[in-house]
């Protein structure tokens, strides 16, 4: 029994931040309909500020008040007023993309401002890790743990009291049920929304400040590890119950602690199975929870008055101008390829090859997001599966690059098919959550297994060999190979996009109810596109790995995957050109020798610029490339009309 307590109590105390984050996620979702991935970033910013203020010589209480009660609510107001209130009515996919952008910005901007100097763990708000307050059996509970539990339970009780028993709470609950009815009653819903954002931001901030002292260094990855069980707890609470989410947050922490404690020590289970428990629970919750398939349905009786608008990507009519622009694009591509092949230095050739290989992976995002209208956060994981399979087959079986890449692509397709079967009932937010859980499972568990990800040293990748000649990564021959594979995958994506499957997917994207009424099966169309996307990502991953020489778990992290999605959404998720340009932009931003200017690292600036550009996804989901192309066609058509009118007169 005392052994059980020794797992339960630390688990309960460790569950405080995730319980708070879970409540914050549910509060934001119910009040605004946004699944706020940025909650992890808000917690990180508050934790970082707390640690930096203490490092700067300020008192603990001053640092806590500034971080939690000043900075966090301010951040909530800014996010609502400047961003989320402006995309009300946008699709859930668009809202998730925007929250991912905010997350990336909250993680990148501090690094841009203060560099990457480490920030060490600050002291806790209350108590000390080494002071034992009391014993439960033979297990000592530190004053830090006790303080965290008291603060968490007190704050959640206060939030519950405000929501249940005050006028503000009543109005907030009414705003959750139906903002339209509330406004018809003469109460403005806008300040209530902002108040919800402030409150949830305070809860996220408090979670961040409670996490910081438990770490060695304040890093974004540590906050991810708390965010996952928090999302899981929110799912268990059905994204509606604050108390349910809070209880589930504590319960999951205790469950993971007990499971980790009872798993046999120094065995495969403790090393491998234990860390994966939260992600598996999240995946199981998303698939099995009856409410998840209906996450899109609104309980608002007036929801049909202004339902989420469909941002239709209306292509310009096929005029002479549009053919001209396409022809010009092709000519520029051919001329550019010739210049590149003849004139570029090996280092630049390498960057370009990397960009095109990334473009191949990004074509999988084009299929899932641009064609199917869904959002998958696991495309980097499929790329990783392809790369690791290719590398391991080369290492252990002696397969060459091409056989390994095909096998990797096949394996990635197989895994995406398995995930697709699990996700057959899911769409929108639920699919985002499932792919998020899978990506984290790969990042934190599966890729960490040495027989998959090669451990600390990674996996040596094979180099392609054509007619007995090895293609070196910085050679022009390798560049030609990446171009050829991109062309092959690009044609595949293009044919699917303009063919019957693409037509069906477009109809599903714009009205699933209408599509099903004429016989379109959403399950089959989305499944097929998801599997092909997995295969393309796996192939691109192998090529990317071969260019890098060695691939390790760090090559395909969840953060990398999220940034890739944001980059594609910024530049263009509906066309092969968008995927290619996004690949090149990301490749340039991630080169280790990217120029450092007076303003800081150029690569980091490119990432921040891409993130800012992706904010426009809510209004223009077709992305920058298509917006520019459509604009050019309109201008040329207008000019043509003008000149033809003059010549007639």
């Amino acid at each position: 029994m005392s052994q059980l307590w020794s797992y339960v109590l630390p688990g309960f105390a460790g569950g405080c931040p995730q319980a708070l984050l879970a409540v914050a996620i549910v509060l934001t979702y119910t009040a605004t309909g946004v699944l706020n991935f940025a909650a992890s970033g808000q917690a990180y910013v508050a934790g970082l500020t707390y640690a930096l203020l203490i490092e700067g010589g300020h008192s603990i209480w001053f640092a806590a008040v500034i971080s939690v009660l000043v900075l966090s609510p301010l951040l909530g107001v800014v996010l609502d007023v400047a961003l989320f209130s402006r995309i009300r009515g946008a699709s859930q996919t668009a809202q998730v993309v925007v929250s991912l952008v905010v997350l990336l910005l909250l993680e990148q901007v501090p690094a841009l401002i203060r560099g990457d100097a480490p920030v060490y763990a600050p002291p806790p708000i209350v108590g000390n890790a080494s002071d034992v307050s009391f014993h439960a059996g033979s297990t000592g509970v530190s004053s830090e743990q006790l303080g965290a539990v008291v603060i968490t339970v007190g704050v959640v009780a206060l939030v519950a009291f405000v929501l249940k028993s005050t006028r503000l709470g009543l109005t907030m609950r009414a705003a959750v049920e139906s903002p339209r009815l509330l406004e018809l009653s003469g109460v403005k819903a806008f300040p209530i929304r902002t108040a919800s954002w402030m409150l949830s931001s305070v809860l996220s901030g408090l979670a961040g400040v409670l996490i910081a002292p438990t770490l060695v260094q304040v890093s974004t990855v540590s906050y991810w590890m708390v965010f996952v069980p928090a999302v899981c707890a929110a799912v268990l609470g059905g994204f509606r119950s604050l108390l349910g989410a809070c209880t589930a947050g504590f319960g999951l922490a205790v469950l993971v602690s007990i499971a980790a404690g009872y798993l046999p020590e120094s065995t495969f289970f403790q090393a491998v199975v234990g860390p994966g428990i939260p992600f598996v629970i999240l995946a199981v919750c998303v698939v099995a929870h009856p409410g998840m398939a209906n996450l899109l349905r609104s309980s608002d009786p007036l929801a049909t008055v202004d339902p989420p608008r469909i941002v239709a990507v209306v292509p310009p009519p096929r005029t002479a101008a549009s053919w001209g622009i396409s022809g010009l694009g092709l000519a520029v591509a051919v001329a550019g390829s010739l210049v590149v092949l003849l004139a570029l230095e090996p280092a630049d050739v390498y960057v370009l090859s990397t960009g095109i290989a990334l473009g191949i992976v990004f074509l999988s995002i084009t299929l899932v997001t641009g064609v199917s209208g869904q959002l998958s956060l696991a495309q980097a994981s499929f790329a990783g599966i392809g790369a690791f399979a290719c590398g391991q087959l080369s290492l252990h079986v002696g397969w060459g690059f091409f056989a390994g890449a095909l096998a990797g692509s096949f394996l990635a397709a197989l895994v995406s098919a398995a995930l697709g079967v699990l996700a057959r009932r899911l769409r929108g937010l639920a699919l985002v959550l499932l792919t998020f859980a899978f990506a984290l499972l790969c990042d934190q568990v599966i890729f960490q297994w040495s027989w998959v990800g090669g451990g600390f040293t990674g996996v040596q990748m094979p180099i392609p060999s054509v007619f007995g000649t090895s293609l070196q990564p910085s050679s022009r021959a390798f560049l030609v190979l990446t171009m050829a594979i991109f062309a092959l995958c690009g044609v595949t994506v293009y044919r699917l996009r303009v063919g019957s499957v693409g037509l069906f997917a477009a109809s599903l994207r714009e009205s699933e109810v209408g599509s099903r009424s004429i016989g379109v099966s959403p399950t089959r169309v989305r499944f097929e596109l998801f599997v092909v996307a997995g295969a393309i990502a796996g192939l691109g991953g192998s090529l990317l790995g071969s260019l890098q020489g060695v691939v390790s778990p760090a090559s395909f992290t969840i953060e990398t995957g999220l940034f890739w999605v944001v980059a594609v959404c910024a530049i263009g998720s509906v066309s092969t050109t968008g995927a290619l340009l996004a690949g090149v932009a990301v490749a340039i931003s991630q080169q280790p020798n990217t120029a450092t200017t007076a303003l800081g690292n150029v690569g980091l600036w490119i990432e921040v610029a891409l993130a800012f550009s992706a904010l426009s996804y809510a209004w223009r989901p077709e992305g920058m490339v298509e917006v520019l192309r459509h604009g050019a066609i309109k201008q040329i058509d207008a000019l043509h009309l003008l000149t033809s009118g003059r010549s007639r007169s």
Binding site: P317, V501, I518, G519, V520
Partner: protein, 252 residues
Amino acid sequence: MTSRLDVRGVTTSFGGVHAVSNVSFTLGAGEQLSIIGPNGSGKTTLLDGIAGRVPFDDGMVLLDGVQLSGTPEHHARRGIARTFQRTQIFPSLTLADHLLVALRARHGSPRLWRDLLRVTTRTSGEREAIATCLGHVGLAGKEDVIVGTLGLGTCRMVELARALVTAPSVLLLDECSSGLDGDEASLLVDVVLETSARTGMSVVAIEHDLSVVAAFGGEVLVLVNGVLLGQGHLDEVLANPEVASAYLGARP
């Protein structure tokens, strides 16, 4: 002789509230049936159930003597087409693509490999079917117009054309004249009746506008609080004091 559509004792409830309670009716080939009743009386739920969008707790629906079950897409492929009270169109697709999706979906999902081997262009048969159908609904020559740029009246005709192009056995219309002016509504009714007479398609229409109900002809079914209150020709139904009280608000 087997009825085209046979609805037997269907019942469905949401959280203890009976939306549709033991409703039965039959409809022969080429016949029309209008469903009237106050808002919230279960008309759309009944239509959703027939189309497979809402499962019935009890009862069954038979099409040409064969029981229907499964998802809306299965019902659609078996020959049930429908339109919606709030139009469910695809704003970024052209009129021709709307009809093309419906034509191809009627015969099942597309083969992925066909798209991969070569771009599936419209066949001459598909082009002809689309042009003919658009001609019937008064939209001839507008194949390449983007539907998102059209007004409500035209969108209703597009939705109707999308349903008709599959040559359905039964057409379900949910308040198809809502938001249309008199001319547009009568054009829509004419198209439906002409198609029904030509192909033997049966029609079930939910309507609030009694002039449209009269134009459809056929039997009228009155639904109040999910219960069948009356059935017969429009004049007979309106003469029923219970119907007048529940639907028109008149004293019995």
